[in-house]
């Protein structure tokens, strides 16, 4: 983490829940359960998400997307945890508004995402009633009802409670920001999960800012992870710019959660873009901070790493990008041509029969 903070931050260590197995060195030096195919697969997802994210921003400037929160800088955290969840196969996700990489990679096409950002009919989360990708995507096991900060946390705990009651061994991953940690409901959710030892992983994507408010004005702490002790469960700091570390921490957390109850993972990330398309971060971010952070851009470092390990070639890196770009172009055109929902649908589904 190359961000200047009030207190100097050491490179955050990845810690492993007590009792978890040590890292299994596979052929490629990867943690247990992870294959090089997974890495390539998730690298492709990451590239795709980045292109979509950039395109959405551009479409906002063209007046075609009213609002967007970018996930740039958060991709490794989002995709590393998602990878662990998908490999586990029995996880349910409660992401937040910045989790484009989670939501899209959980199973949406670029076109579905574009429909959502443009507010068009057939958009998968709410049929364009809500902010982009907000509502529910049940086929892909995702719920995010609102963008009211921290409102999803207690709900995710309730979901886990119900899973436990029904005996289905699902583990719930709930995502939130450093700002969200200050909300009372975050406390209530963690406390309840702790008391009932529910299978929930609290994933804080700590990017050091809540819009303009820096971490030192949000909490009198260096590491949010330390708060877990106050709820009687473990908390770990994870380098959120490193997909493999995020995978590994989540992988271990999933088995801990299923057997012993909640885990808090604080993934230290960086927000490369302003808070949303409505924001101007020059008002509050020190000059050069973002440039410095971008030196650890997960899309770049992951490509370097894959090439370095000899898993893919530089040429393949280019091909992956080119392929993704074509898909994004096509998705943009299709979504642009689509229509918003008809006005008469305004009155549907206030109540279910």
């Amino acid at each position: 983490m190359a961000r200047p903070r009030s207190t100097p931050t050491k490179k955050p260590p990845t810690k492993r829940p007590a009792g978890a197995k040590p890292v299994q060195d596979s052929a490629a030096g990867l943690p247990g359960g992870l294959t090089t195919d997974d890495l390539v697969d998730y690298y492709k997802k990451m590239v795709m998400v980045r292109l979509v994210d950039e395109r959405i921003w551009a479409l906002n400037r063209q007046g075609k997307v009213p609002i967007a929160a970018s996930c740039q800088g958060h991709e490794a955290a989002q995709l590393g945890s998602l990878l662990a969840a998908e490999k586990d196969g029995n996880c349910f996700l409660f992401p937040y508004y910045r989790d484009l990489a989670v939501k899209m990679s959980a199973g949406l096409t670029a076109e579905q995402v574009m429909l959502s950002f443009m507010g068009k009919e057939g958009e998968p989360y709410s049929n364009a009633r809500q902010f982009p990708l907000q509502g529910a995507d049940l086929p892909n096991k995702v719920i995010q009802i609102s963008n009211v900060v921290a409102a999803g946390l207690t709900q995710s705990v309730g979901y886990a409670l119900a899973c436990t009651m029904l005996g289905d061994h699902t583990v719930v991953l709930v995502y939130f920001g450093d700002g969200a940690s200050s909300q009372g409901e975050t406390h209530e959710a963690m406390n309840f999960a702790g008391v009932h030892r529910l299978p929930v992983i609290f994933i804080c994507e700590n990017n050091g800012y809540a819009i303009s408010v820096p971490q030192r004005r949000q909490m009198n702490l260096d590491d949010l992870a330390s708060r877990a002790a106050g709820y009687g469960f473990p908390g770990f700091v994870v380098d959120g710019m490193d997909l493999v570390q995020c995978y590994e921490a989540t992988h271990h957390a999933i088995s801990h959660a299923r057997q012993q109850g909640p885990v808090l993972l604080e993934m230290k990330v960086d927000r490369f873009m302003p808070h949303t398309t409505d924001d101007d971060d020059r008002r509050y971010r020190p000059k050069g901070e973002v440039e410095e952070a971008r030196k650890r851009d997960p899309v770049v470092t992951m490509a370097e790493d894959l090439v370095h390990r000899g898993i893919i070639t530089r040429k393949q890196v280019e091909e992956i990008a080119a392929l993704a770009l074509r898909e994004v172009d096509a998705a943009t055109d299709a979504a642009d041509a689509a229509s918003p929902p008809g006005a008469s649908s305004l009155h549907e589904m206030v109540y279910v029969p």
Partner: protein, 327 residues
């Protein structure tokens, strides 16, 4: 038919539904071991176990959010708010979230949950154990709100609420819990949400009320009937959706409307009832629409003098009826 109190009717409704459907469960502060501070959930822990009768930490927002999340997974939670006065920390989950789940997912999720809220005054509860909180929920699309006044209605409506696939706020007037007793059939029954009930037919004035006030209206109607004033007493029973038809039909018949509630007058449920009548029964009105409601002070104070000064009563309802009849 057995004669039971409102609290017994509530308890029976929950018990029957928990027996019928294993996805129904209750959660809240002191609902388990203690059986609820009003004993609405007494005996449930023993019968259904700690998994389905959950004593929660003291955190209303969590109680509601957890109920919501469980509902997403197909459960049918019945969260309890110990007193209406403590619902405020939970309104983000209720108004901001629960009410919008179905709409905000275009129907792919819905929230079959019943939030039980003991409310209302007249029990020396003072400013923080007496509140009426119906106006806020009444104003929130996506919620349903029931507010029964009798054991029969309480049981039938609560059972319907538990079976309803939408979030329902169940307002139970604390003072009726033990005070009001009535017959309840042995056999299973439910009552439709959204239907008012004419508790007393009459020709000369329509009175609309709900909850504890319904009983005062009935008593007052009895009083003034001896003076030749024939009052029709409409018990809303459900506040949301409001049964406009029953209200409007009654007003069309009587030409006079008195609305009675305990909640503060300004912006209360009565304002909407008046607005509906002023729009839809305009040509039939023979007198200004009258409201007898709680005054615009925060709520009933603790001192007995102040509490009675706040509360509408049989006497003040009777006076209002006489005035309206004399117009």
């Amino acid at each position: 038919m057995a004669v039971v109190s409102v609290i017994e009717a509530v308890r029976e409704a929950i018990r029957e539904e928990m027996r019928r459907d294993s996805n129904v469960f209750v959660l809240g502060e002191d609902v388990g071991q203690r059986g609820g501070v009003f004993l609405a959930t007494q005996g449930l822990l023993e019968e259904f176990g700690g998994e389905r009768v959950i004593d929660t930490p003291l955190a209303e927002a969590a109680i509601m959010g957890i109920a919501l999340g469980a509902a997403y997974r197909g459960m049918r939670p019945i969260p309890e708010v110990q007193f209406s006065d403590f619902v405020w920390p939970a309104v983000n989950q209720l108004i901001g979230e629960a009410a919008r789940v179905c709409y905000g997912t275009h129907g792919s999720l819905n929230v079959p949950m019943v939030v039980r809220i003991p409310y209302g005054g007249g029990i020396r509860g003072g400013l923080f154990h007496s509140q009426n909180v119906e106006a806020m929920f009444f104003h929130t699309p996506g919620l349903k709100v029931i507010a029964p006044a009798t054991p029969f209605d309480a049981k039938g409506l609560l059972k319907s609420a538990i079976r309803d696939n939408n979030p329902v706020i169940s307002l139970e007037h604390k003072k009726t819990y033990r005070l009001v007793r009535g017959e309840v059939p042995e056999d299973e029954y439910t009552l439709p949400i959204g239907k008012a009930d004419i508790k007393r037919p009459g020709e000369s004035i329509t009175t609309v009320s709900y909850g504890l006030m319904l009983h005062y209206c009935l008593e007052a109607a009895e009083q003034v009937s001896q003076e030749g004033i024939d009052v029709e007493v409409v018990d809303l029973r459900t506040l949301k959706p409001l049964d406009k038809e029953t209200v409007v039909e009654s007003v069309k018949k009587t030409g006079r409307l008195l609305i009675v509630h305990e909640d503060n007058i300004t912006g209360g449920v009565g304002a909407e009832v008046a607005a509906v009548a002023a729009a839809e029964a305009f040509e039939f009105l023979d007198a200004p629409i009258a409201r007898l409601c709680g005054p615009d002070v925060p709520t009933m104070p603790f001192a007995e003098t102040l509490e009675s000064a706040y509360m509408p009563s049989t006497e003040t309802v009777a006076v209002a009826l006489r005035n309206l009849a004399a117009y």
